[in-house]
């Protein structure tokens, strides 16, 4: 009996030892998948993602603003600023500064004379305007950067200083700031402009733009056009009735030009549908459902008239 007991004990020890090895390794194989936190935000919230830097501060909702102008985000906030492409629009927030005393300040152009008076649309202004003196600009830029950096970034971000109003110090060469003059950033970059200077951007995307066409505006536009569109009845080949129309609008919601039909077809039913769509585009004026703040996103839009969408809930 004792021998049997010893045999049994040894066998159990062996079995348990084997179980410790095999059981544990087998169960360790399924590596838990790394969890990915997902925030559910609405389309409206998505459109209001703050303009900022990816490395920015999450708490302070301040976009990166390197100069005072119409809000205009840049792709890479860390790139080098080039003053060449800068345009001042008519709606620049600050009054035109005095030309004499402000060459090195934060204004986009040290030469306010040639730009400020006439309100030019962006597209025409870009090719025309060039920086006359490239020598002065980097220094001015460096000085401007120093200005922004000197105050503590934290405090600065919360209360943007009213810098545009106070006149800057005279431009002069300072050997101690020579390091600041060596700007290693991308020369093609455009400065991020905004209403108030902020060198400590918050967390966000460079293209972030709170003024975007929201889903409800799109839906309202689509519902209005669909209401006015009368495609020929019949349920065969509904795909041949799809009409895509390009519409260009003015800020007050009127058509700025005749709608362009982008799809083509030969059938009579398509032509009927196309004409009806063009009539609908005209009759839908004015497009009051689109907000003026988002004009940039709807000044040139494409609308798809699809009969299958009309009968969907």
């Amino acid at each position: 009996m004792r021998r049997a007991l010893i045999i049994s004990t040894v066998a159990h020890a062996v079995a348990i030892g084997w179980g410790l090895v095999s059981f544990s390794t087998r169960l360790h194989e399924p590596v838990p998948v790394e969890s990915m936190p997902i925030d559910i935000i609405s389309a409206d919230q998505l459109s209001k993602i703050t303009a900022g830097a990816k490395t920015g501060d999450k708490d302070k909702a301040k976009p990166l603003v390197e100069k005072i102008a119409e809000p205009k985000p840049v792709d890479d906030p860390m790139g080098k600023i080039s003053e060449k492409k800068e345009i001042t629009t008519a709606s620049a927030p600050e009054p035109p500064p005095k030309p004499v005393e402000k060459p090195p300040e934060k204004k986009p152009e040290p030469k306010p004379v040639e730009k400020q008076p006439e309100p030019k649309p962006k597209d025409e202004a870009k090719p025309v305007e060039k920086k006359p003196e490239p020598k002065v600009d980097p220094i001015a830029e460096a000085l401007k950067k120093d200005e922004a950096k000197k105050p503590k970034p934290k405090a600065e971000a919360r209360t943007p200083p009213p810098q545009p109003q106070q006149p800057k110090q005279e431009q002069k060469f300072d050997a101690t700031r020579i390091a600041a003059l060596l700007d290693k950033r991308d020369p093609q970059r455009q400065a991020a402009s905004g209403a108030a200077l902020n060198m400590a951007p918050s967390l966000g995307t460079a293209r972030g733009n709170a003024a975007q066409l929201s889903q409800s505006e799109l839906d309202a536009l689509r519902a209005r056009l669909m209401q006015l569109w009368n495609p020929p009845v019949g349920n065969e080949n509904p795909e041949e009735l799809i009409v895509r129309v390009r519409i260009q609008l003015t800020p007050d919601g009127k058509l700025s030009g005749p709608p362009m039909v982008l799809t083509s077809g030969r059938s009579v039913r398509f032509q009927t549908a196309r004409d009806s769509a063009i009539r609908a585009v005209f009759r839908a004026q004015p497009y009051n459902m689109l907000r003026k703040e988002t004009y940039e996103t709807w000044k040139d839009i494409e609308v798809t008239f699809d009969p299958r969408d009309m009968f969907r809930g």
């Binding site: 009996m1 049997a4 007991l5 049994s8 159990h12 410790l20 969890s35 936190p37």
Partner: protein, 237 residues
């Protein structure tokens, strides 16, 4: 809930050790006691099983050898003298007991033949009972473990699940990562119970049938030998 909190709380649980040893050490002490008890039961069951396997095979071989010798035409007196020298088991013990009673009756003065037949049968019955008892000893342990083991393991499981539900209630978190270790350790108790009980039941059934077969064989031999001795008694009377 803050996603980072979830990730942090899930992290240690996801990395929780699920080896057998960890399952054992994380368990409640009652569950531990159940597991240890069932492990001891399993060791004891296998010890009994090994012991019985050896005993039965040895008994069967001894019976075969004895029957061969008994029916070989060898003189019963010689056989008795060779077997009585040392302690014997099973069929040989039966033969020795009957022969001893026979000789005692003949060598005594009275030559009491009247009750000899009955005495020999009684002696052989007693010997059979003793041999069967020797074969059957500890088989009841197997039966007990086989029937009670699952229940004991189930008790450990129920207790472990109770405590794991209590921990769910305490942590207010119902994610599988919170529940799984407790349930795994609880189910481990049932597994140990089944591991102990299944061999116990199988061995019990096997050994009971073996005991029945061997006792039948002993009784058959006892009847045959009683008939032989009865013939001798009638011839001498």
């Amino acid at each position: 809930m803050n996603p980072s909190d979830v990730a942090q709380s899930a992290l240690p649980l996801a990395n929780a050790d699920v080896s057998l040893l960890a399952l054992f050490w994380q368990a409640h002490w009652i569950v531990k006691a159940v597991m240890l008890g069932l492990l001891a039961c399993s060791v004891w069951v296998w010890a009994i099983a090994i012991d019985k396997l050896i005993l039965f095979s040895r008994t069967r071989r001894a019976m075969d050898r004895f029957e061969q010798a008994f029916w070989s035409g060898q003189s019963i007196e010689e056989l008795y003298r060779s077997l009585a020298a040392r302690p014997t088991h099973s069929m040989a013990a039966l033969f020795v007991a009957a022969m001893r009673e026979w000789k005692r009756s003949f060598e005594s003065q009275g030559k009491s033949f009247a009750g000899l037949q009955m005495r020999i049968e009684k002696v052989m019955n007693v010997t059979i009972a003793r041999e069967v008892e020797r074969l059957e000893r500890r088989l009841l342990v197997l039966a007990t473990v086989g029937s009670a083991g699952p229940f004991v393991g189930l008790f450990g499981t129920v207790w472990g699940i109770m405590s794991s539900f209590q921990s769910i209630a305490a942590s207010k978190n119902t994610s599988l990562a919170v529940v799984a270790p407790g349930i795994a350790e609880a189910l481990f108790a049932t597994a140990v119970g089944l591991i102990a009980a299944i061999p116990a039941t199988i061995f019990y059934n096997k050994f009971i049938s073996e005991v029945n077969r061997q006792s039948q064989r002993l009784e058959g031999f006892a009847d045959e030998f009683a008939a032989i001795l009865s013939r001798q008694i009638d011839e001498r009377a």
